[in-house]
Symmetry: C2
Subunit: 303 residues, 2 copies
């Protein structure tokens, strides 16, 4: 097509809304229907996954996919699998024996709506659904698909997200030092964010080792940036704006960046992480355009 | 080798003990070490998986493997993955919001030993570990490995084990009729038992459709047999013999075969299921020897 005749590229906001809508629809298709038996379990799974969330991990996967010409259908599958893992972790994290939270994305949490046992099972089944989806879809080369499954499982398990939650749990009430706090976050939220980027890359044309490593450096910094901004918002934003209980982490005596560094130095740290993340994207030039915009979005978000 | 010089085949008891020991060692290797951080999480995972259990699902996988000349190394991986799923389901099933049980395999349950949040995370991470192991091992043909992952995920999720637990949960206090009870068990325990047989078959030389279907018919009947015997034992055996709280299901007003059919007719039903299971194995002749012995073991077990 003649470039002069090409429609203008969508703005970042348009692109973001399109990805969010696409992922929402795909999640709805890839979750069991609310009528299928056992209906109440399926309703609880859908309640926890649909209608909400910024879809940061899918946005990262889709933005990374632009670097390697990844087809949207594959990015949809990878995004839904990551988002199901994320949703399961929130359901279990909100349970009374964990954070005991009653509000999530502006709605009652899953156990408030479906009971503790119902939420436990919904979280369990959402985790399984993520692996069922990723193993069941036709993603082309089976060996690459196995690599994607390993990536997601590693990021979710005891050396990834679940491990980070365990460190968080053991640390409640204690004072964490900065290196421990970074390890905790690198696992608890960072691992799945890195997986979203890696999976996005695995959906497309194969990248060389330098490119893979640059993307992984980016993902580590973006993941930490996301968490530092989260801590800042927990102490500065309102419950209504956040859609979840604000001020909870500091009230629960949990280690946060704001608690350790203070608000001003936390903001400086976020600025440094943003710079470093953008630096990692430089080798990709224009192809990293959406990732650059997404990094700025994460750095500046207010909810 | 001259058949006359071949050592005698091990007895069923010897074979069973050898498989149990082999799987115990393999599980220990394939679980994160108790020293690796986060250590307490890894200890809880190991506590829930090691030192106990009849390993019925691994025995089924190994016995099925004899039909299709499956290598022991592959059967080990498949067995460990199934057993990790089984162990995770027991940990979550024992939680206070579910069955609230304090005794399992003669020891305190995971949440008694590691706290509710610790047990929640250990179960979560055990599920992930099962998929990580099955995706991470070198099992030969990637497309067959993906089929194994789909089989395990399908058996574990909302249309399998977790779905059966949800039906069980919704049914507590109500009177279940026989068809509903069979559906509940077909999902809750039957699905993973079928998966153990299917995975055992997928570890070996590929079988034709007739053979696959015969094995699946066998697995359905063996799974139901296992459950009916479980219900009989729950009402006739002691807590010490079982290593878990006896008489609990009837006390909790849960639907059981004994409750619906009475003890004598439950025993007759078990006898019929045993016959039907053995019938499904007839096409395999001598190669199904271990499966035949295992069926009798399941029918006659006292613990």
């Amino acid at each position: 097509m003649n470039a002069a005749l090409a429609p203008p590229a969508p703005s970042f906001d348009e692109w973001m809304a399109a990805v969010q809508t696409r992922v929402e629809k795909a999640l709805s298709r890839h979750l069991p229907s609310a009528e299928a038996l056992p209906a109440r379990l399926h309703q609880a799974m859908r309640y926890s996954c649909l209608n909400g969330g910024k879809r940061v991990r899918p946005l990262l996967a889709f933005a990374t996919g632009e670097i390697c010409a990844a087809p949207g259908e594959k990015l949809e599958i990878a995004s839904c699998a990551v988002e199901m893992i994320h949703a399961y972790s929130l359901v279990h994290d909100d349970l009374p024996c964990m954070d005991n939270d009653v509000l999530r994305r502006g709605r009652p949490t899953c156990h408030v709506e479906y009971g503790e046992a119902g939420a436990l099972l919904a979280g369990d089944a959402l985790q399984t659904q993520a692996f069922l989806l990723l193993a069941g879809a036709d993603l082309g080369v089976p060996s690459v698909q196995l690599e994607m499954l390993r990536c997601l499982a590693h990021a979710s398990g005891s050396l990834g997200m679940a491990g980070g939650q365990a460190i968080d749990l053991d640390a409640a009430g204690h004072a964490l030092e900065l290196p421990e706090l970074e390890l905790m976050h690198a696992l608890k939220t960072g691992a799945l964010i890195r997986a979203a980027v890696t999976l996005g890359a695995l959906c497309g044309e194969s990248l060389d080792d330098d490119a893979r490593q640059a993307l992984d450096r980016f993902a580590k910094r973006a993941g930490l940036l996301f968490q530092v901004v989260d801590d800042i918002l927990d102490c500065t934003a309102s419950t209504v704006t956040l859609g979840k209980t604000a001020g909870k982490d500091s009230a629960a005596d949990k280690a946060t960046y704001v608690g350790l560094l203070g608000l001003e130095r936390s903001r400086e740290f976020a600025g440094q992480l943003r710079e470093q993340a953008l630096e990692s994207l430089r080798p990709f030039g224009d192809r990293a355009g959406r990732l650059v915009e997404l990094t700025d979005f994460i750095a500046r978000r207010r909810f």
